[in-house]
Structure formats: structure tokens, C-alpha cells
């Protein structure tokens, strides 16, 4: 745990809302519009925090706890990522299970909060969210298997940090495939095109946006910040696999991470401008495709 790593963690928390902003800006520019400023989400968050809250009479404490649990689990998950390319603040053997468990805890809380409203739209969204997660989670573990094989370590610090950098020269092809697979996973887990369209305005067609339909004020601010953070965390996964930074000095590694996050955000924007949302029944196929890439990456390394 280096001072740069700690600094990077704080910076990550501050910069997270800019990542979806950059994606939206890219899409706007590519489709010939001016679009909202890249830092729009900060203004939205400041506005929402000052607003009042409306609670449905159907809801219970679970509805109010949802955004909090989701955000805390994401923040704790961030502690397992080696932001300086070497070592994370927290690590133990098998901590990728904890990382996946934390993502699942956040999802469980948000989806139950959605079910708490008793709205069939939110039930629909909840059902789709867990369906997509069913295919995303095994894919993520398949990526982890490929990384464990390459790095020979059982911690996220190891499979994304120094041992991974050492493995690049002989496992480069396999690791590139893992990077692509993780990028597809990023799109699916964060409800971006081609899995979901965050810009749509019809409740029936949305996944993530429909789950949070009834949240308002500071609660909605927590959720929006949480989804920006989740996108950023997956971005860190992608960047860490594709650009091992253990060879650079601490500050350079952190700078490289944030440059990488910017590129990932632009890539998300480009994907959103060049393709449409796929039909919901095709989403599992997309994710199985990503899993197949990760499987190939694994097989490449089996000796």
C-alpha cells in the first residue's frame, strides 16, 4: 500500500461521476450534437442532495436501505483493487470472491428496494437485472480464472498487480482476450448499450433506470453516484488487465490509470454511437460470447 495508492483511491472517488459524463459527451459529439457538459453529473448530484424525498406508502425500510447498502458495498469493493498497479489497500487469498460478493450485495439491496415499491415496472426491471447478472457473474469468474492462471496468485492485488505485469510477455494474447471480455462485462453490468440504453425514456424498455424509478432526492443521488462508481470500478478492472503498471513509478502509474479510465469512457461512448441496443433475449448470448472469449483465454494458458 503506497501513498500514491491511497491518493488514487480518493481521486477515484472524486473522478467517478466524470466517467459516465465523458461517455455521454463522446456519444453526443459523434452523433452531431453538442450534448450536456461532461461534468453534468456533479451538478445533478448537488441538486438532488438539496431536494426533498418522496416515499411510496407501499415501501418499508428495505427501500431506504437499498441505496446505502449498494454504495457502501461498492466503496468496500474499491479497496480490493490495486490502483497503483502494485498492491491494494486490502488483500487476502480468494478476495475476488469477496469482490464479487460485494457487487452481489449491492445488487441484492437495489433490486429488493425495487421490489419493495410493489410496482410491476420495477419488478420487470428487477427480473431483468438479476437475469443479466446470472450470466455476468460466471463470465467474471472465468476472467478471474484466466488471470489466476497467468499471474499464479489468488488475490486481486496479484492478478491485477505486479505478478500480472510479469506475466504479460508470455501470456499477452490471452490477457488481451480477457480485457475484451471484461469490457463487454462492463457494458452489461452497468446497463450500457448494447445491453440497456440509459437514454431511453420508456419504463418498459429499461433495466437499471427502471429499478430506481421511485427513488428521489438524496437517495437518487446516492444511486447515481453508486452507478458511476460501479462503472469506474469495472473500468479499473479493464485498464489494469490491459495496461499493467507495476513497471512505472507510483505517480506515473496512477496518472496512467486515469488516462486509461478516460479512454474506456470514450470507448463506451463510441460503442453507444455505432450500435443499437440488442433485443433482451439476445443479451444472454452476448454474455455467453464474452464468456467464450474468457474460456479461450483460459485454454490458451492450460499446459
Amino acid at each position: 500500500m503506497t501513498p500514491e495508492g491511497l491518493l488514487a483511491l480518493v481521486l477515484l472517488g472524486i473522478a467517478a461521476p466524470a466517467v459516465p459524463g465523458i461517455a455521454v459527451k463522446t456519444k453526443s459529439l459523434l452523433t452531431g450534437r453538442r450534448g450536456p457538459p461532461a461534468l453534468q453529473l456533479y451538478a445533478d448530484l448537488a441538486k438532488l442532495v438539496r431536494k426533498g424525498r418522496v416515499y411510496s406508502r407501499t415501501t418499508t425500510l428495505i427501500f431506504r436501505a437499498g441505496p446505502i447498502v449498494a454504495l457502501v458495498s461498492l466503496i468496500v469493493a474499491a479497496l480490493f483493487l490495486p490502483l497503483d498497479g502494485r498492491e491494494a489497500p486490502a488483500r487476502f487469498a480468494g478476495d475476488m470472491v469477496a469482490f464479487a460478493g460485494l457487487l452481489a450485495l449491492g445488487r441484492f439491496a437495489l433490486v429488493l428496494a425495487a421490489m419493495d415499491t410493489g410496482s410491476s415496472f420495477e419488478g420487470l426491471g428487477a427480473s431483468r437485472e438479476v437475469t443479466i447478472a446470472t450470466f455476468a457473474e460466471p463470465t467474471m469468474f472465468l476472467c478471474f480464472i484466466a488471470l489466476v492462471l497467468a499471474a499464479g496468485d489468488l488475490t486481486l492485488s496479484g492478478i491485477l498487480g505486479t505478478p500480472l505485469a510479469a506475466a504479460w510477455p508470455h501470456a499477452g494474447a490471452s490477457l488481451s482476450l480477457v480485457g475484451v471480455s471484461l469490457f463487454v462485462l462492463l457494458l452489461a453490468e452497468n446497463s450500457r448499450v448494447p445491453v440497456d440504453d440509459p437514454a431511453t425514456h420508456l419504463e418498459l424498455t429499461m433495466i437499471h433506470e427502471v429499478i430506481v424509478l421511485d427513488h428521489s432526492g438524496p437517495d437518487l443521488a446516492l444511486i447515481l453516484y453508486g452507478s458511476a462508481l460501479k462503472l469506474t470500478l469495472f473500468g479499473v478492472l479493464v485498464v489494469s488487465v490491459l495496461v499493467p503498471r507495476a513497471g512505472f513509478s507510483g505517480p506515473a502509474a496512477v496518472a496512467l490509470l486515469f488516462a486509461g479510465l478516460g479512454i474506456v469512457a470514450v470507448a463506451v461512448g463510441v460503442v453507444e454511437s455505432v450500435m443499437a441496443r440488442v433485443r433482451l433475449v439476445r443479451v444472454p448470448q452476448l454474455l455467453v460470447g464474452a464468456a467464450a472469449l474468457a474460456l479461450v483465454a483460459t485454454i490458451l494458458q492450460l499446459r
Binding site: V54, F92, V97, G101, L102, G118, S120, G123, S127, I145
Partner: protein, 659 residues
């Protein structure tokens, strides 16, 4: 061992007291006696179990041979201890819950006998795990099967209960017969069937050793409910009263796991094929169990299928352990077996919690169909809170106990990935484990969301009410156990590793040398997460009290502008599960009914409904054809006699020899 004998005696006495004092004014006294004796018995039995888990040895007891097949030996090692602990804690919770749960049936049923049977069941379970000879083991095993059968058919006036009881009793006795075969093959011609004698067997030929392991796998797999031997499980667990379902799903099926682990201890290193078969059985049971659970809308059947899923997870651990032994990776072996043992204990805790909470719901509403219920969080807050904890635990979410044991199993498999020989392919089971976890999350979101959240989907005859304190206290106790184990992995992982190294056949003390394999940092993680959640919640409540937005406004749920939602518009469990079941439709065992107005899914069991029942029908109709021969008329019997004489004469004529 004296303490265990004392504990078992006290539990049986408690049952007798409840049965003897089951009428009139004595009921109150009977209940107090039952609680006191049962509780004391469980505490007495738990003390030596904790001693054995902490690494100390508990001396064995040998009774002089009064029967054939050698002396009766009783002993307690770490493996027995972890099961004994689960039996006693869950047994006590279920027994106390049963006192209140059955109280309203007083006068209509033999409640005293039910309490006695439950005591017999718990006592035989305890004896089965400390038995160290085939004969007492089989006696306890059979006592367990018979007591469980009588408890399953407690509500025998219902037809489906009698059917479930019959399926259960057939399945369990097939298993017992296989156990007779197992011990017979194992012992060969020798007359000493104590486990010491069995363990000291001369090396088996590959064929005989394989036969022993295969028979053990089928016999104990049948008890554990692994696919494809699961067919009796959802029937019996759905038919029994809630506290009996809880005990059966939590403990009785785990005896199959105990049997498998004990077989490994006594047999020694199993060959690789056995590990692979167990691993595949685990993967298949895990995935199919949870997919079938998704298709269920009867809360008890749904929970029963989740037991199939969790047995799958446990078997993945056993398989990883067996492969670790077979390929010479002691750490993987220890972690695999330890994960299996720990998940057995954890599943016992949260599954009995879920069954008991479901029992409270059924008690309060009179229905098991989750699509008829909804919004129960308001009338039943305590039941909802404990059910929610149990759900998060069974899904394997941190910081609860399910996460801890799944993490150990994951670790075993992930270490397999980088081990470098054939065991690498076992590491791919990590993906299966992740799929099971994600599907379980979907299923429990469905259950919690439809059952407790939202609005009621039908008008019930009577308004639901919170369960009586006597039913809530056991729930709170079990939920507390789930939270505590989740918060201190450092307290449970080292004893589990002791169990693991015992099963892996490593010398005593290996686990202590091995250290805690990251249980320390994991404890820091779970405690930090729990603290983080608590602090964030506290901050949120304080800040929103003084927030500038003013008091929250109460309103109706946003219905896209539609102002008056009705119960019929609430999302149903069928609809919730539909997208996932669509993906898995080829083996989900689901029939879909879709009309313009309604959508419903209906689950069929692929093994019971589509294989076993048709086969038995076929056997019966063939037998019915034979029945024409035996109509009871004298003339027809005389005809058969005549035909037999003619046939014998023809046989002789054709050149046959006289005998």
C-alpha cells in the same frame, strides 16, 4: 462421551415428558419440562463437541460385544463434532418452535407423540454421528428414517402427504438396503464390523474398492438428495410440518454428507474417478437444484429445491477435497473438505431458519402459494427481518455465514486452477459455483420480493398477523448464529480446517501448521463491511433528519401516470422467473401456461414425474395383466394344476431328466 450419553438421555426424557403430560392442566408443566430437559440435553452434548473441534481428543467408549458383528464403539472426532453441533443447535431451535407451532392443533392430533418423535429423531441423529461400528450406526440410521417418516405423515388425512410419505419411506429404505450391502462388501468374510476393523482392511482390489465407493455414493447420495436421487426430497419436505421440514432439510439430508466424509476417512485415499464423479454430481445438483427452485411457487417446495442446490455446493467441496487427495495436493484437499463441512453447518443454520420463517407465514396466512401473498413485511416485521438475513446468507453475501463457507470452497477450486496437473479442470467448477450463486440471488429476490414486499396479491380470509414469541425466538437465535459466524471467519475456519485435515487423512495438527489460510484478513473484511454498513446507515438517518429537504412526502408508487393500482397489477413470481426459465427451458422442468389474460408456470420434476412414476405405472400395468391368472375361482386353479402336470410330462417326454 458420558456427556453425550447424558445429553441423548435427557433429550429422550424430554420427549417422554411431553408425551406423558399432553392432556389437560398438565400441558403447561409438560412444555416447561420439555424445554428444560431438551435444552439441557443439547448443552450437555455440545460441550464435548466443542472440545473435539478445538483439537483435543475425546476418549472412545467400547461396549462388550453382546451382539454379532463385533463390539459397539462410540467416539467423537472433529468430523462427528461439527455434525453433532449442527444437530443439537438446529434440533433445539426446531423443537422449541414446534411447541408453539403445533399448539393450535391440540385436541385434533397427537401433539405429545409428535414431540416425542422429534426427540427420538434428534437423539438418533446424534447417535448416528458418534457411532463407530456398523450395527449401532445402522440402528440409529433406521431410527432416524422411521421417526422422520412418522413426522412427515403427521397430517396424514391429506392425500399428497400420504403420497410424499410413501415416496420418502421407499427412498430411505433403498438407501438403508444399500448400506447393508456396503458393509457386507467392505467386511468381506470377517465378523468384526467396528469402524476400526473396517479402516484396518487389507488393500482392496480396484474392482472391490470401486464397488464400495460407488455403493457408498449412491446410498449416501440418496440420503443427501443429490440429483438424480433428489426426487423424494421436495415431496417429503413440503408435506411435513414446518419445524420437521426445517430439521429434515437442515440436518437429516446432511447425514448423507456425513456418510460420504466418513467413508473417505475409513477408506483412505479415493481414486481420482470418484472425486470427478462427486464433483460432477455437485455441479449438476447445484445448477439444476436452483433452476428447479426458480420454477417453484410453493414456498416449501422452493426451499426444498434450494437444499438440493446447497448439497451440490457441499459436494463440489467434497469433490475438490477428494481430487486434492487423489492428485497429492494436501492444501486443496483440506480446503475442499473444510469448505464442505463448514457449508454443511451453515446451511443447517440458514435453511432451518428459512423453513421456520416460512412456517410462520403459512401459519399466519394459511397458504404456501407465494403468488397469493405479498406485503407481509408490515404485519410480520420480525419474521421478515429474520427471513431476509437467512436469504442473504444462503445467497452467499458478505458479511454472513454463507459467504464464509463458499469462500473456502472457492479457495479450494481456485488453488486447483494454478496447481498445474489434471486438477486444473476441477478449477473450472468455480464458474459453476458463480452461476449457482447468481441464480440463487435471483431466486431469493423473487421470494423475498413477492412474499414480503409490495402489496398483497389476493385478499386473504383473515388478516395476517405476526407469529407468537415462541416461534420468533428460535428464528432470532438462528439468525444471530448466521451473523456471528459471518462476522468471525477466524473463529470457524480453523476448526473446519481441522475437520478437513482429518478427512484428508493428514496427521493431526497439520491444520494448525497450515495456519488459518487468510481467515484473519477475511475477518477484518467482514467486520469492516458490517461496521461500514452500520456507520453509513447511522449517518444517513442523522443527516436526513436534519436535511434541508424537509420531511419526506408519502405518496403512491409511480405507476407511469396510472393513479389507482390494484392488487392484480402486482408483479408475480411466475413473471419474475420467466426470463431466466426461458433461457434454461430445456432442462428447467417447467410447463408454461400463457393466455391473453394470465401467465403462469408450473413445475414438474424430471426424475420423479417423468421417469420413476411412468416406470412404476408400467410395472403395475404389466402386473395387472398377470392378475388374470389369479381370480379366486376354484376351476381356474384346477386348470393351472392340470396344465402344470401336462407341462412336466411333456418336459419328460422331450428328453428332460428327472431331478
Amino acid at each position: 462421551m458420558t456427556l453425550i450419553a447424558l445429553g441423548v438421555t435427557l433429550i429422550l426424557l424430554a420427549g417422554l415428558a411431553a408425551a406423558a403430560l399432553a392432556r389437560g392442566a398438565a400441558i403447561r408443566k409438560g412444555e416447561i419440562l420439555f424445554r428444560g430437559l431438551f435444552g439441557a440435553g443439547c448443552v450437555a452434548g455440545a460441550i464435548p463437541a466443542l472440545t473435539a473441534l478445538s483439537g483435543d481428543t475425546v476418549p472412545e467408549v467400547r461396549l462388550a460385544p453382546t451382539t454379532p458383528f463385533g463390539p459397539w464403539v462410540f467416539g467423537l472426532d472433529a468430523l462427528s463434532a461439527v455434525f453433532l453441533l449442527a444437530i443439537l443447535s438446529v434440533g433445539a431451535a426446531c423443537a422449541f418452535y414446534g411447541l408453539t407451532y403445533l399448539a393450535h392443533e391440540r385436541g385434533r392430533r397427537a401433539i405429545g407423540a409428535a414431540h416425542l418423535l422429534l426427540a427420538v429423531l434428534v437423539a438418533s441423529l446424534a447417535l448416528a454421528v458418534v457411532a463407530r461400528a456398523a450395527l449401532p450406526f445402522l440402528i440409529a440410521w433406521e431410527g432416524m428414517a422411521v421417526a422422520a417418516y412418522l413426522l412427515v405423515v403427521l397430517e396424514h388425512e391429506r392425500r399428497e402427504v400420504r403420497r410424499a410419505g410413501m415416496i420418502y419411506v421407499v427412498a430411505t429404505h433403498v438407501g438403508t438396503l444399500l448400506l447393508f450391502a456396503l458393509f457386507a462388501i467392505w467386511a468381506g468374510g470377517t465378523s468384526d464390523l467396528s469402524f476400526h476393523a473396517l479402516a484396518a482392511h487389507p488393500p482392496f482390489s480396484a474392482g472391490r474398492g470401486g464397488m464400495i465407493l460407488a455403493v457408498a455414493l449412491i446410498a449416501f447420495g440418496l440420503k443427501a438428495g443429490a440429483v438424480p436421487f433428489h426426487f423424494w426430497l421436495p415431496e417429503a419436505h413440503a408435506a411435513a410440518p414446518a419445524h420437521v421440514s426445517a430439521l429434515m432439510s437442515g440436518i437429516v439430508i446432511k447425514m448423507g454428507i456425513y456418510g460420504l466424509l466418513r467413508t473417505v476417512v475409513l477408506f483412505g485415499a479415493p481414486p481420482p474417478w470418484w472425486g470427478w464423479v462427486v464433483l460432477v454430481l455437485g455441479a449438476v445438483s447445484g445448477v439444476l437444484g436452483v433452476v428447479w427452485a426458480l420454477a417453484q411457487h410453493d414456498i416449501k417446495r422452493l426451499l426444498a429445491f434450494h437444499s438440493v442446490e446447497n448439497v451440490g455446493i457441499i459436494l463440489l467441496g467434497v469433490g475438490a477435497g477428494a481430487l486434492g487427495v487423489a492428485y497429492g495436493h494436501p492444501l486443496i484437499a483440506v480446503l475442499g473438505f473444510a469448505g464442505a463441512a463448514l457449508h454443511t453447518l451453515n446451511h443447517a443454520l440458514f435453511k432451518s431458519l428459512l423453513f421456520l420463517a416460512a412456517g410462520s407465514v403459512i401459519h399466519a396466512t394459511g397458504t404456501r402459494e407465494i403468488d397469493r401473498l405479498g406485503g407481509l413485511a408490515r404485519p410480520m416485521p420480525a419474521t421478515t427481518a429474520t427471513f431476509l438475513i437467512g436469504s442473504a446468507a444462503i445467497v452467499g453475501l458478505p458479511p454472513l455465514n454463507g459467504f464464509v463457507s463458499e469462500w473456502v470452497v472457492y479457495q479450494a477450486l481456485l488453488r486447483g486452477v494454478s496447481a498445474g496437473d489434471a486438477i486444473q479442470f476441477a478449477g473450472l467448477a468455480v464458474v459453476v459455483l458463480a452461476l449457482i450463486g447468481a441464480l440463487a440471488l435471483a431466486c431469493f429476490v423473487k421470494v423475498v420480493g413477492v412474499l414480503y414486499l409490495g402489496t398483497p396479491r389476493h385478499t386473504l380470509a383473515t388478516a395476517p398477523h405476526e407469529a407468537a414469541p415462541g416461534m420468533i425466538r428460535p428464528l432470532v437465535g438462528l439468525a444471530a448464529a448466521c451473523v456471528v459466524i459471518g462476522l468471525v471467519p477466524i473463529g470457524v475456519v480453523p476448526p473446519a480446517l481441522r475437520v478437513g485435515s482429518l478427512v484428508a487423512g493428514l496427521p493431526a495438527g497439520t491444520a494448525d501448521v497450515m495456519g488459518t489460510t487468510a481467515a484473519g484478513p477475511a475477518t477484518v473484511f467482514t467486520v469492516a463491511l458490517a461496521l461500514g454498513l452500520a456507520v453509513a446507515w447511522g449517518l444517513y438517518v442523522t443527516l436526513s433528519r436534519e436535511g434541508r429537504g424537509g420531511r419526506p412526502v408519502q405518496s403512491a408508487t409511480w405507476g407511469c401516470g396510472y393513479p389507482t393500482p390494484t392488487p392484480r397489477m402486482a408483479y408475480t413470481a411466475s413473471s419474475f422467473a420467466a426470463p431466466l426459465l426461458d433461457v434454461f427451458r430445456s432442462f428447467a422442468g417447467v410447463r408454461t401456461h400463457r393466455t391473453a389474460q394470465a401467465f403462469a408456470t408450473h413445475a414438474v420434476d424430471p426424475v420423479l414425474d417423468e421417469v420413476l412414476v411412468p416406470v412404476w405405472r408400467g410395472v403395475r400395468s404389466t402386473a395387472a395383466w398377470l392378475r388374470h391368472a389369479q381370480r379366486g375361482g376354484l376351476s381356474r386353479y384346477l386348470l393351472w394344476v392340470g396344465a402344470a402336470v401336462v407341462a412336466s410330462l411333456l418336459y419328460l417326454l422331450a428328453g428332460g431328466r428327472t431331478p
